[in-house]
């Protein structure tokens, strides 16, 4: 039982990282209908920026987190402006291929610049003390991850629902042309979406590094894909859906590991993906939308 709860906590920690990345996927998809494959790589870049902030500049965890989020936000906007914006009216396939190209470029560009060798996040930046709740030991790191991710999600909810830019984002994702006619600056809104999504991915990168310690240039691929699965699971384009999907996926993976199938863990996410696409393509929180004939 204790073991089970322990695994559950691990799953929720991992799941909240997925959720943070999934938010960026889901927001971008909701607004420009693009699977931003490069999103997982923004996450990787965030992890490295956090790492260098801590080791070279001897910053604490929170300043590093902020720097990483800011840098990733700028990076995300740059990717959008340079690679995606010219393709806004292109076919979906062209956009998807571009996204794959951008993703490969960031991955191998990083390897070219700094080599493929992994780095280890310094230990001791996060509280190591464990806390005992109901007889279950929960590591300080897990709690910190949960606190950071939930805080960011609340901030995001606030931005999306209470601010002007949030309102613009919702309007553009609902109907880009109508929003344009209503005087909303669509380009800026899309950039803001990329900025927010990328900042969340950057934050996820730093806490991922802190939790798993090892980071490397191709680390973004698998968590990126899984986060996309999480976004689809919750219903793509739906922000609470991405959060729930991420947490659910993390828990499922942890339980599969706990059941002794840890080598199959990476496969489970994709099985979940295919099942959800077949049986409920709109996701758990989504509504079915028909193609207009």
């Amino acid at each position: 039982m204790e073991q089970f709860i322990q695994q559950l906590v691990n799953g929720i920690s991992l799941g909240s990282i997925y959720a943070l990345i999934a938010l960026g996927y889901t927001m971008v998809y909701g607004i420009v209908k693009l699977i931003n494959f490069a999103h997982g790589d923004v996450f990787m870049v965030g992890a490295f920026i956090g790492f260098y902030s801590i080791t070279f500049f001897h910053l604490g965890l929170f300043p590093a987190l902020l720097i990483s989020m800011t840098a990733c936000a700028i990076f995300g906007v740059l990717i959008e402006r340079i690679a995606y914006k010219p393709l806004r009216n292109a076919t979906r396939i062209a956009a998807l291929i571009t996204a794959i190209g951008v993703s490969l470029f960031i991955e191998y560009g990083t390897i070219y610049i700094r080599g493929a060798q992994p780095e280890a996040y310094p230990s001791g930046i996060a509280p190591l003390k464990s806390i005992e709740i109901f007889g279950v030991k929960i590591s300080g790191q897990s709690l910190l991850i949960l606190a950071v991710s939930f805080f960011l999600m609340i901030v995001l909810q606030f931005i999306v629902h209470k601010t002007k830019i949030g309102k613009a984002m919702r309007a553009v994702s609902h109907d880009m042309d109508a929003a344009k006619l209503m005087g909303i600056n669509v380009n800026n809104t899309i950039s803001a979406t990329f900025a927010i999504g990328s900042a969340l991915a950057g934050a996820a990168g730093v806490i991922f590094g802190m939790y798993y310690t090892k980071i490397e240039p191709l680390m973004g691929i698998i968590p990126g894909l899984k986060a996309f699965v999480a976004a689809v699971l919750g219903g793509i384009g739906i922000i609470p859906g991405a959060m729930a999907g991420g947490l659910l996926l993390g828990v499922i993976e942890a339980l599969v590991s706990a059941a002794g199938f840890s080598l199959w863990r990476d496969g489970v996410a994709f099985v979940v993906l295919i099942l959800i696409l077949i049986f409920r393509p709109a996701g758990l929180f989504g509504k079915n939308v028909r193609e207009k004939v």
Partner: protein, 324 residues
């Protein structure tokens, strides 16, 4: 009707291909081609099979599948089991590889091909990853350390498989069945309204494409001495996708040319893998920005060659029976 003329072109291409194959065989046996070139040539041919088989799925039928390495993996492992575990001859292994991959094509195709565009892409990508993880976890085929395979891939097998792949897919494409697939790519709702059984043809394209990817897997496995699950990750799928996209979605000769060029480039850059990937990725992005239709667009190379001769150059039937 024009079929007589086309038939002549068809046999001419076959004769040329046979002469080419025999000459190459002499060069190999005579030692003129050193092992490095022979290996590059084999890689080119295997990649042509992969590119042409994916071309049928993406370029002709318009189904954006990015898990082609999954079928390659199934073919590679199925053939390796045939020769290494069951002691069967190589031709049986090639056939088994194709059949196993085609069977997987049916199993994965029927449920996922209901999905459209992005969703299908991500589902097929998931399928490719699942296959990799499955092979990683099966001890019978060596798990993570992989499986050693004896070197049985020879030039006659390679070139025969390439020719069969091209002929079968070209013949399929240039028939009412191929047009049914094209109509799905062009407008699925209209295709349905015209009486085309769209599900049937999508699955059929998937099966044929998967079959030849499996065949390529058999040649691949018996060329490289060892197969390991990481060889069949989605980077491999992307490699194949890049051939098809750069060659021109809908152009078989385009994907063949792209497979040849890119294989040569990556062979020369094999000591600098990250440079290769950077170039690949830049080419992809720049291509999508400035020439999203790829090198040849939807046309076949013969349409360009004919341009000078006929006023109707570029007509769609230009590529009939073309053996690249």
């Amino acid at each position: 009707m024009k079929s007589g003329k086309h038939l002549k072109g068809f046999w001419l291409s076959i004769v040329l291909a046979v002469i080419f194959s025999v000459v190459v065989q002499f060069l190999i046996s005579g030692g003129t081609l050193n092992p490095f070139y022979v290996n590059t040539l084999f890689s080119i041919c295997i990649n042509i099979i992969l590119a042409v088989s994916l071309h049928l799925i993406i370029g002709i039928t318009g189904q954006f599948s990015i898990g082609h390495a999954g079928f390659l993996a199934i073919g590679a492992y199925a053939s390796a089991i045939m020769t290494m575990k069951l002691g069967l001859p190589f031709p049986a292994a090639i056939l088994a590889a194709g059949i196993a991959a085609a069977a997987a094509g049916v199993i994965i195709g029927i449920p996922t091909l209901r999905l459209r565009g992005d969703y299908l892409a991500i589902a097929t990508l998931g399928f490719g990853e699942i296959m990799r993880i499955v092979f990683l976890n099966i001890e019978y085929v060596g798990g993570a350390s992989g499986m050693t395979v004896s070197h049985l891939t020879t030039w006659p097998w390679v070139i025969t498989c390439v020719l069969i792949t091209i002929i079968v897919i070209a013949n399929f494409t240039n028939s009412t069945h191929g047009r049914a697939c094209l109509s799905i790519r062009e407008n699925e709702i209209a295709a349905d309204a015209m009486g085309i059984n769209t599900t049937y043809y999508k699955v059929m394209a998937f099966i044929i494409g998967a079959f030849f990817a499996g065949v390529a897997g058999a040649l691949h496995a018996h060329n490289f001495y060892i197969i390991q699950p990481p060889n069949f990750g989605f980077l491999k799928s992307f490699d194949i996708l890049i051939f098809v996209v750069i060659g021109g979605l809908g152009s078989m000769s385009g994907s063949v040319i792209a497979a040849i060029l890119l294989t040569i480039i990556s062979t020369f850059l094999s000591n600098y893998p990250e440079v290769r990937m950077i170039i690949y990725s830049l080419v992809l992005v720049v291509m999508m920005l400035f020439r999203p239709q790829g090198l040849l667009g939807t046309k076949e190379i013969t349409a360009f060659l004919k341009m000078g001769k006929s006023a109707k150059g570029g007509s769609k039937d230009g590529g009939k029976h073309t053996v690249a």
